[in-house]
């Protein structure tokens, strides 16, 4: 089992650790998932997400290589921009959902899901175009996510104004403690926030610095439990829940990130020929209970039309919510979700469940 460079410090700070994607990571701290979730919604929270994978693609054909691998279009990306995209297989299923960072025309970073890292590394490195080079820097790269409306105030405490990425999905390559870091205005919570990529060698010092600067702002230490409830409220899909290799990219509600008018990419031909049979919807349960991944979904007439892909109790809204995968034709509002042999009443509601208002 692997440890991130924050393991010892976070354990000493009360982290309850659990295994995730081969790493021991904080699931929650002593105040609990709901308190952590609320801290991120109301002020700010800090997460260790060093398990994420980071790849560097470089060389003259770096852009071409990536364009062929992904559904989004990076041809008009500027240096210092980040973009969310899907990476498909030949059948139009999803190999992974990733973030693409552009440093310059010849150097990009891809950030991939921890559970998919090995698979992605071999998928990408065997599909390099025209001599582009591939490097997996995950084992040297630590990642902290500082999320919430007060994240900017904490960053301002120790990063010079010109090095702060000005808006969502931008980043800067700067220095901290004499070492190179990447400061990215991205996250997985539905809040404003930053992700800080740094080397393992300064990781503990960066953690101490963030705690010192962040605690006066009420910063909570947060685990993967809160990360999951936060992303779910924000309507953000999670690989292995809302998407996988068998599920067509047309069926996961991410059409905006699929650019059919750009040049050829892996999976495009399959997407041209297929129509979605399912769609992703958000629901709230009006009966008591929690619908989790795999729970079957029925329409008002009792016909089974799909299943739950992710579900939880929403700490912000105070009621149970879920994302479901149901037949495209379903148009109703009323639904039933089967939980432990009981059919619980639910209704369709718009995604995201939560949207920030600042």
């Amino acid at each position: 089992m692997k440890h991130t460079p924050f393991f010892e410090k976070m354990k000493a700070d009360g982290a309850k650790m659990a295994e995730f994607a081969g790493y021991m990571l904080p699931m929650q701290f002593s105040n609990g998932i709901i308190a952590e979730h609320k801290a991120v919604r109301e002020s700010v929270g800090l997460f260790d997400v060093s398990h994420m994978g980071e790849f560097i693609i470089s060389g003259e054909s770096a852009r071409l290589t990536i364009q062929r691998l992904i559904t989004n279009d990076i041809s008009n990306m500027k240096n210092g921009q980040a973009k969310y995209t899907l990476m498909l297989n030949e059948k139009g299923g999803v190999v992974d959902d990733i973030l693409v960072y552009r440093f310059n025309e010849q150097k990009y970073m891809l950030v991939v899901n921890a559970a998919n890292r090995e698979k992605d590394a071999s998928w990408i490195s065997s599909r390099l175009t025209g001599g582009a080079s591939f490097e997996d820097i995950s084992d040297q790269t630590a990642l902290l996510a500082l999320q919430g409306r007060k994240a900017i105030d904490i960053i301002k405490e120790f990063i010079p104004a010109q090095d702060i990425p000005p808006k969502s999905y931008t980043f800067t390559a700067s220095e901290l403690l004499g070492q190179k870091i990447i400061l990215s205005r991205t996250g997985y919570t539905g809040e404003d926030g930053f992700e800080i990529y740094c080397g393992y060698d300064i990781a503990e010092k960066v953690y101490d610095l963030l705690k010192q600067k962040g605690l006066p702002y009420g910063m909570a230490l947060c685990g993967l439990g809160a990360r999951d409830t936060l992303r779910l409220e924000a309507g953000m899909p999670l690989y292995g829940h809302e998407m996988d290799e068998q599920t067509s990219a047309w069926e996961i509600g991410l059409d905006f990130f699929i650019k059919m008018d750009k040049d050829d990419f892996i999976g495009k031909a399959a997407l041209e020929k297929t129509k979605p049979a399912y769609k992703r919807l958000g629901i709230k349960l009006t009966d008591r209970g929690i619908a989790r991944q795999g729970a079957l979904v029925y329409d008002g007439g009792g016909e089974q039309i799909g299943y739950v892909t992710s579900g939880t109790h929403s700490p912000t809204l105070g009621y149970p919510i879920a994302m479901i995968r149901v037949k495209k034709e379903f148009e109703g509002k009323e639904l039933f979700v089967e939980v432990r042999n009981k059919k619980l009443r639910a209704e369709v509601c718009g995604l995201p469940f939560y949207k920030r208002n600042y």
């Binding site: 699931m27 929650q28 609990g32 998932i33 709901i34 308190a35 439990g225 409830t229 008591r288 209970g289 929690i290 989790r292 939880t312 109790h313 700490p315 149970p320 432990r340």
Partner: protein
């Protein structure tokens, strides 16, 4: 604590009131409890068998009955406010009250139960 008797699986039975709940250790391990599913008044309980489900943000857990008997009362308050179990596992967070309880002989005292947690 002297009237509380435990299963090693973290449920308690109050010998005076007949109430059943989960231990403080268990609520801490489960984390924030957001939903409780209880049996109905009049249901029969079998010692050692699951009679309730407690859901935290992360997962659902079955709760086992420390005694055999009949459900005399359920704690309606925790249906609306499951966090009571986190706040007060041995008092306000009780789950059900049992009548005609049997099988209390081999339950653990608090000291014996606490020793299993070490």
């Amino acid at each position: 604590m002297q009237n509380l008797f435990f299963l090693p699986s973290h449920e308690w039975y109050d010998n005076d009131s007949g109430k059943v709940g989960i231990s403080d250790y268990a609520q801490k391990e489960l984390g924030d409890i957001v939903f409780v599913e209880l049996p109905e008044v009049g249901d029969t309980l079998e010692k050692g068998e699951a009679f309730a489900n407690v859901e935290s943000v992360k997962a659902v857990s079955e709760i086992y009955s420390p005694v055999s008997g009949i459900v005399a009362e359920i704690n309606e308050e925790i249906l609306d406010n499951p966090a009571l179990i986190n706040e007060d596992a041995y008092n306000g967070g009780w789950l059900i009250r049992v009548k005609e309880a049997q099988g209390t002989e081999d339950l653990l005292t608090y000291e014996q139960y606490a020793a299993t947690l070490k």
